[in-house]
C-alpha cells in the first residue's frame, strides 16, 4: 500500500509540475482530486481494508491529498504570474505617443487685463457700471462740460452715426465717461464705480485705433479728495504692474470735466532702447484724472456744495501693452491665432489679488 501511495504521489506531483497552463493544471487537478480522480478513487477502496489499516491508509491518503493540493496551488500561482507577465508584455504601448487632442483656447490679453482691473478695483470697493456704446451728445459731451464748439466734438475726432429720423446724430462714445453721467443721474452718492468698455475715436495709425477700450473710475461722496485719488491710483499702479516701489507722479493738466486735473506718470527706464517699467530715469504717462468739475455734478443733479469726488480714465490697451510687452497696438484686433497663443491666457487663470493677478 505504502509503495502504491508513493508511486501515486510521484506521478501526481510530476504531472502538476509538468502542467504548462492553467487549463492543463486544471486537468491534473481533476485527474487527481476530482470525483473520479486517482486519489478519490483510491480513497473509495479504503472501506475494504481492515479497520486498523484503514486508519493508517486514510491518514496517508489525506496527507497525499493535501500535498497535491498544495502543489497545485503553488503551480497555479506560478502559472498565473507567468501568464500575467506575458499579458503585460503583450499590452505594452508606446507612452511617448501624443495624447488625444483636447485643444485649449486662450483668453485675449486685453480682456484678461479688463478682468485684472475689476479684480483690483473690486478689492477697493468699486463696482462695475456699464452703458451703451452709442451715446447722445448730452451724455458724451454736454454733461461733461465739453462745450458745443470744443474740438473733441468735431467730425475730425469723433464718429457720428448718420442723421436719424428725429434729426439727431448719435455719437459713438469717445470715452467711458458718459457712464459716470448715467450713474450720477440715477444713483445718489456715495458712488464708487469703474467702467471698463469700448470707446471710439476717429484715428487710425500705428498708435491709434478707431476702437479701443478705456476704464473709467468715479468716486463721489462728501469728503473724498485728491489725496484719496492719489492713494487709490498709486495702489492700483503698483498692484497692476506688480512693482511694490513703482514711482508714480501726479502733475497738473487740463480736462474739461475735472478741476483740478492731473495726469499720472509711472517711472520707467528707456536705457538701451527698450522700455522697462519701474524706478528709472524717465516717466511714462498712463492716465488722466482729477476732481469732478462742479458743473458736471450740477448737470447730473448732484449738489456740488455738498458732494465732491474724483474721476480717472485710462486706456486698457495701453496698460496691457506695457505690462505684457506687446509692441504693436494693431495686433490686438487682428485675431492672429499665433499671436493669441503667444500673448493669451489660460481659461482658468482668473485674476484675483488673493490668488495672484497674473502669471
Amino acid at each position: 500500500m505504502a509503495i502504491a501511495i508513493d508511486e501515486l504521489r510521484e506521478s501526481l506531483l510530476a504531472q502538476v509540475e509538468a502542467a504548462a497552463s492553467s487549463a492543463a493544471l486544471e486537468d491534473v487537478r481533476v485527474a487527481a482530486l476530482g470525483r473520479k480522480g486517482a486519489i478519490t478513487e483510491q480513497m473509495k477502496t479504503l472501506g475494504q481494508l481492515p479497520p486498523d489499516e484503514r486508519r493508517a491508509a486514510g491518514q496517508a491518503f489525506n496527507a497525499l491529498k493535501d500535498e497535491v493540493a498544495t502543489a497545485l496551488e503553488a503551480r497555479k500561482a506560478a502559472l498565473d504570474a507567468a501568464e500575467l507577465e506575458t499579458r503585460l508584455a503583450r499590452e505594452r504601448v508606446d507612452v511617448t505617443l501624443p495624447v488625444r487632442p483636447q485643444p485649449e483656447g486662450r483668453l485675449h490679453p486685453l480682456m484678461q487685463t479688463w478682468d485684472e482691473l475689476v479684480a483690483i478695483f473690486g478689492e477697493m470697493g468699486f463696482v462695475v457700471a456699464d452703458g451703451p456704446d452709442i451715446e447722445d451728445d448730452w451724455h458724451n459731451f454736454t454733461a461733461l462740460n465739453i462745450p458745443e464748439e470744443h474740438p473733441a466734438r468735431q467730425e475730425m475726432d469723433t464718429f457720428y452715426l448718420s442723421e436719424q429720423a428725429d434729426g439727431s446724430r448719435p455719437v459713438l462714445r469717445t470715452h467711458t465717461s458718459p457712464v459716470q453721467i448715467r450713474t450720477m443721474v440715477t444713483q445718489p452718492p456715495p458712488i464708487r464705480i469703474i467702467v471698463p468698455g469700448r470707446t471710439f475715436r476717429s484715428d487710425h495709425d500705428a498708435t491709434h485705433s478707431p476702437m479701443f477700450h478705456q476704464v473709467e473710475g468715479l468716486v463721489i461722496d462728501e469728503s473724498t479728495h485728491m489725496g484719496h485719488l492719489k492713494g487709490t491710483l498709486i495702489e492700483f499702479c503698483r498692484a497692476f504692474f506688480g512693482i511694490d516701489d513703482l514711482p508714480v507722479r501726479f502733475r497738473n493738466s487740463h480736462f474739461p470735466f475735472t478741476e483740478p486735473s492731473a495726469e499720472v506718470d509711472i517711472g520707467c527706464s528707456r536705457k538701451g532702447g527698450g522700455l522697462t517699467i519701474g524706478a528709472g530715469d524717465d516717466w511714462l504717462e498712463i492716465l488722466g484724472s482729477g476732481m469732478v468739475h462742479p458743473k458736471v455734478l450740477e448737470y447730473c443733479g448732484i449738489d456740488s456744495t455738498r458732494y465732491q469726488g474724483w474721476a480717472f480714465g485710462m486706456g486698457i490697451e495701453r496698460i496691457a501693452m506695457l505690462k505684457y510687452g506687446i509692441p504693436d497696438l494693431r495686433t490686438m484686433y487682428d485675431s492672429d491665432l499665433r499671436w493669441l497663443r503667444h500673448y493669451g491666457f489660460m481659461p482658468l487663470d482668473v485674476p484675483s489679488l488673493l490668488g495672484g493677478l497674473a502669471r
Binding site: P132, H225, G227, G231, T232, H254, H293, S335, L340
Partner: protein, 798 residues
C-alpha cells in the same frame, strides 16, 4: 509751443538750471515734450585755423590746406574758392556725420594728396543754402577749438511744451515765464518793448468794424518810410531755433510777438490797401490768395479784414498775398486785433489752415494786449526798419472779460488734502496776475485778462495747488465702505467672464474685433440699416455698426487660413447693435470653428466641424452664463446666414438664447472660406437672472438606493420627426419613472422604408420603493411605445 532758454530769460530773471525749469514746467501743467540742444548735434564742428592753403599740384580747383585744429595739425584738401592761408573756419574731423550731405567723413586721398576731415560750408551744416565757400570766421577770430555752435549763438536749448487748450496765455513766452516766476523759479522782468510811441500824424487808413462780436476791437498804426530788410542775426536765430523761417524784418517782427507774448499781429503793405480797412464777414464766393500761396474761398461766417475793394486777410488766421509786405514796402499798416475764439476755430477748420495766429486766437488772446502789442510792434519796426509812426487807430472796445469769483482758501484743503495757508494762496494768485480783495469768509478774486479759462472756485483751487506743487498732495488710502469687498460684478455682468472662460476652455481662442464693418457685409447678417451707418467713417470698410460678430470672425478666419491656420476656432464676447437707442445693443458670445474638428491623430479619426460642435459651444457658453439649458428647447430654425438644414435656435419659451449651425454656403463663398465652418451666437442678456430671494441653497438631493434600469428601443419615424420630439415623447410616457432618455443611433438605409429613419434610444427607469418586476418593466416599455406612437406616429422597429 517751442521757445529757447535764452528767449525765456528775456522775461524771467532766474538762476535755475535747464533741468529745474523743465521739471517745474511739467509739474505746473506745461508738460515738456522735449528739449533739444542744437549744440549737441554740432558738437564735432569746431573752429580751426588754416596755417597754409596752397594750390593742389594735380588739380586746378583744389587747395591743400594745413589746418590747425583742437586735435593738432591736419592736412585737408579743400575745393572752396575762399579757402586761404590765415583764415579761420569750421572743421569737422574724420568720422563726423555731415547733415547737409548725409555723408560720414572718412580719410581719403584726393588726386594724390592725403585729406582728413573737412572745412564745412553753411549748406553742409544745413544752416542756409550758401555753398559758395566754406564758413569764414576770420573776422570774429574765435579761439581754435571753440565749438561752432557757441560762435554762431546756436547753443541755446530749445524747449517744446505740449500746451493744454486752456492755456492760451502760455502760447507766449511771457506767460510761461509768469508761471515759472509764480512757482518760485525767478522774477518776472518788465515787458520788453514797453512804452508808447508818440504818433506824429493821423493815419491815412482808418478802421471800420462791421462784424460785431467776431472782431470787437482793432488797433492799427500807420508807419511811413520804413526800409524792409532781413532781420538782424539775433532775431533770425531765435525764429530758426523754434522752427520758423525768417522772411523779412517786418514779417519776422509779427512772428516774434506771436511767440514772445501770444500777441499775433499783421502788417499790411499800406500802399497796396485800397482806402480804409473794413472788418466784415466774407462774401459768398469771395476768394483770397493767402500768404501760404494757396487760394481760399470765404463764406459769410468768416471774419475778414478787407479794404474798400477786396478782402485782404482772414481775421485771426492768415494774411493775404496781395497786401503782404515785400522788400519794396515803404509804408505799412500794423494790425493788432481781437477775434472771437469760437469763430476763429470754425473758420480755421473750414479753410484747413493751421497757423500760429489761429492757434492763439482760438485759445483766446489777451483782450488787453491790443494797444501794448501795437506799441511794441511799432517800436520794434522803427528800431529795425526806421520810419515814422502815425497816431494809433483804435476801433471798438475790448470784449468784456472782467469777472470775479468767491474763493474760500480752505477749499484747497477740502479738494486736495493740502493745507495751503491763506497768505500763500493770496500770494500765488497775485503772482499769476489775479486781483483780489477780502470778503466775509474768503476773498473775491478777479482773473487777469489773459486767463479766460478760469471760471470759478475749483479753477482757483487748481491755480493755487499747481503752483504749490502736486507732489505735496498726500497719499491717502481710500477708506473701505465695508470690511470685506462686495462683488464688483452683478449677476448680469458676471455672464461675460463666465461665458468667455467656458468658451476658451473648449478650445476656442478669444478675439477682440471692431464694432464696425462694411455696410454690405452687415446687410448679409440682418443689419445695414441707415440709422446704424457711421456718418464719418474712417474708411468704407468700417462704416456700419455690426449686427453680428460672425462676419468679423469669418474675416479673421480667412486671414488665419491665409496664414496656414487651416482649422481652428475663435470667439468674441462683445456687443452687437440692433438700433441706436440706449437699449439697442446686445451682449453676445459669438464663436466660429472652421476646418477639421481637431489635429490629425494616431488614435482618432479627423472629421470636419459640424453643427453639433457649434451647438455644444453654444450650450456650454449658455450654461456657464447661468442659462437653464436642461429646460431649453432646440428648434430647427435659424437666421438666413446659417445653412437652412444644419442650424437651430436654442430657446426658452419665446426668448431666443442662441443660434447655432453650419454657416450658409453662400456666406462662406462670399467670405472666401473653402472649408466647413460653423458658428453660434448666444444672447447673454436674454438669460434669465436667478431669483434675488432664492438664496444660494441647492434643492435637497434625494439619492435613490435602488439601481436604475436601462432599456433600449429603436423606433421607425418619419424623416422629419426630430430626435428632440421623440425624446420628449418618451419622457412624457411616465415622468416619475423615466429619468433619462438618450438617443444613441440614427439610421437610414437598408431595412428602413424610404422617407423614414430609425432612431435608437436608451431609456432609464428609476425604481423608487422596490425593484421593478419584469411585468412592471414590460408595462413601462408599452407605455413608451404608445407615447411615441401618439406623439410622432413612430413604431417600434422589429
Amino acid at each position: 509751443m517751442r521757445f529757447t532758454l535764452g528767449w525765456l530769460k528775456d522775461h524771467l530773471e532766474t538762476t535755475a538750471t535747464l533741468d529745474q525749469i523743465c521739471e517745474s514746467l511739467t509739474m505746473l501743467g506745461l508738460e515738456v515734450d522735449g528739449v533739444t540742444d542744437p549744440a549737441a548735434a554740432l558738437a564735432p564742428f569746431r573752429v580751426a585755423y588754416v596755417i597754409e592753403a596752397k594750390q593742389h599740384p594735380n588739380a586746378d580747383r583744389l587747395r591743400v590746406c594745413r589746418v590747425q585744429t583742437v586735435d593738432g595739425e591736419i592736412q585737408v584738401v579743400c575745393g572752396a574758392p575762399n579757402a586761404r592761408t590765415g583764415m579761420k573756419g569750421v572743421f569737422a574731423p574724420e568720422g563726423t556725420y555731415i547733415p547737409g550731405t548725409g555723408i560720414t567723413l572718412k580719410a581719403a586721398e584726393i588726386r594724390g594728396e592725403a585729406s582728413s576731415g573737412m572745412l564745412v560750408s553753411e549748406r553742409e551744416l544745413e544752416l542756409s543754402e550758401d555753398h559758395d565757400g566754406i564758413i569764414d570766421l576770420t573776422d570774429l577770430d574765435p579761439a581754435v577749438g571753440t565749438p561752432f555752435a557757441q560762435v554762431a549763438g546756436m547753443d541755446d536749448p530749445v524747449i517744446e511744451i505740449g500746451l493744454t487748450p486752456n492755456r492760451g496765455d502760455c502760447a507766449g513766452i511771457r506767460g510761461i515765464a509768469r508761471d515759472l516766476a509764480a512757482a518760485g523759479l525767478g522774477r518776472l522782468k518788465p515787458e520788453p518793448y514797453g512804452g508808447k510811441v508818440v504818433g506824429t500824424f493821423e493815419s491815412p487808413i482808418q478802421v471800420h468794424l462791421e462784424a460785431g462780436a467776431a472782431c470787437p476791437m482793432f488797433v492799427g498804426r500807420y508807419i511811413r518810410g520804413v526800409k524792409n530788410r532781413p532781420s538782424p542775426a539775433w532775431l533770425q536765430r531765435r525764429l530758426k531755433a523754434i522752427g520758423l523761417r525768417p522772411i523779412s524784418a517786418l514779417v519776422d517782427i509779427t512772428n516774434y510777438f506771436t511767440f514772445d507774448r501770444a500777441r499775433p499781429l499783421h502788417v499790411f503793405d499800406a500802399d497796396k490797401v485800397h482806402g480804409d480797412i473794413h472788418v466784415r464777414f466774407g462774401k459768398p464766393g469771395e476768394t483770397l490768395e493767402a500768404l501760404d500761396g494757396r487760394t481760399y474761398t470765404a463764406d459769410e461766417t468768416m471774419c475778414m479784414i478787407a479794404d474798400d475793394k477786396v478782402g485782404e486777410a482772414f481775421g485771426g488766421i492768415m494774411g493775404g498775398e496781395p497786401s503782404g509786405c515785400s522788400e519794396e514796402t515803404v509804408n505799412v499798416f500794423v494790425e493788432s486785433a481781437w477775434f472771437d475764439p469760437v469763430r476763429t476755430a470754425a473758420t480755421g477748420r473750414k479753410l484747413g489752415i493751421h497757423s500760429d495766429a489761429r492757434y492763439r486766437f482760438e485759445r483766446g488772446v489777451d483782450p488787453q494786449s491790443l494797444i501794448p502789442g501795437a506799441e511794441a510792434a511799432t517800436r520794434m519796426i522803427q528800431e529795425l526798419c526806421g520810419g515814422e509812426a502815425s497816431e494809433p487807430v483804435i476801433a471798438g472796445e475790448e470784449p468784456a472779460w472782467r469777472r470775479s469769483y468767491h474763493f474760500r482758501p480752505q477749499r484747497v484743503k477740502e479738494l486736495t488734502g493740502v493745507d495751503v495757508s491763506r497768505q500763500e494762496a493770496e500770494e500765488t494768485l497775485t503772482k499769476l496776475g489775479f486781483e483780489w480783495n477780502l470778503v466775509d469768509d474768503g476773498i473775491q478774486v478777479s482773473p487777469p485778462s489773459w486767463r479766460p479759462d478760469v471760471h470759478g472756485e475749483a479753477d482757483l483751487v487748481e491755480e493755487v495747488i499747481r503752483v504749490h506743487g502736486y507732489d505735496a498732495i498726500p497719499v491717502v488710502p481710500l477708506p473701505r465702505l465695508t470690511t470685506l469687498p462686495q462683488p464688483a460684478l452683478t449677476e448680469a455682468q458676471a455672464r461675460r467672464p463666465r461665458a468667455r472662460r467656458a468658451l476658451a476652455s473648449r478650445g476656442l481662442m478669444e478675439a477682440v474685433t471692431f464694432s464696425f464693418l462694411p455696410k454690405a457685409q452687415a446687410a448679409k447678417f440682418g443689419g445695414g440699416a441707415d440709422a446704424l451707418t457711421v456718418g464719418n467713417p474712417i474708411s468704407e470698410d468700417l462704416n456700419q455698426m455690426r449686427p453680428s460678430i460672425l462676419p468679423n470672425l469669418l474675416d479673421a478666419a480667412r486671414r488665419n487660413r491665409d496664414r496656414g491656420q487651416r482649422s481652428a476656432g475663435l470667439f468674441e464676447v462683445g456687443p452687437q447693435y440692433r438700433e441706436t437707442s440706449h437699449t439697442g445693443q446686445d451682449l453676445m458670445a459669438t464663436g466660429l470653428r472652421w476646418g477639421q474638428s481637431g489635429p490629425r491623430h494616431w488614435a482618432e479619426a479627423q472629421r470636419s466641424v459640424d453643427a453639433f460642435d457649434a451647438k455644444a459651444d453654444a450650450l456650454a457658453a449658455l450654461e456657464a452664463a447661468g442659462a437653464p439649458v436642461a429646460t431649453a428647447q432646440v428648434v430647427a430654425e435659424a437666421p438666413s446666414w446659417y445653412h437652412p438644414g444644419q442650424s437651430g435656435t436654442i430657446r426658452l419659451g419665446k426668448m431666443v438664447l442662441a443660434y447655432f449651425g453650419a454657416l450658409h454656403p453662400a456666406i462662406l463663398r462670399d467670405c472666401d472660406i473653402d472649408s466647413a465652418a460653423v458658428g453660434f451666437e448666444c444672447f447673454l442678456d436674454h438669460i434669465p437672472l436667478p431669483r434675488a430671494k432664492a438664496g444660494k441653497a441647492r434643492t435637497l438631493l434625494k439619492l435613490e438606493t435602488l439601481l436604475p434600469v436601462e432599456r433600449d428601443f429603436a423606433f421607425l419615424v418619419d424623416a422629419d420627426v426630430t430626435a428632440d420630439a421623440l425624446a420628449r415623447a418618451v419622457r412624457q410616457a411616465d415622468k416619475a419613472m423615466i429619468t433619462g432618455v438618450a438617443v444613441f443611433d440614427v439610421y437610414t438605409g437598408k431595412g428602413v422604408p424610404e422617407g423614414q429613419k430609425s432612431l435608437a434610444l436608451s431609456v432609464t427607469y428609476q425604481p423608487r420603493d422596490a425593484t421593478l418586476t419584469d411585468e412592471q418593466i414590460e408595462a413601462l416599455g408599452a407605455k413608451v411605445v404608445a407615447a411615441v406612437q401618439k406623439a410622432t406616429g413612430g413604431t417600434l422597429r422589429g
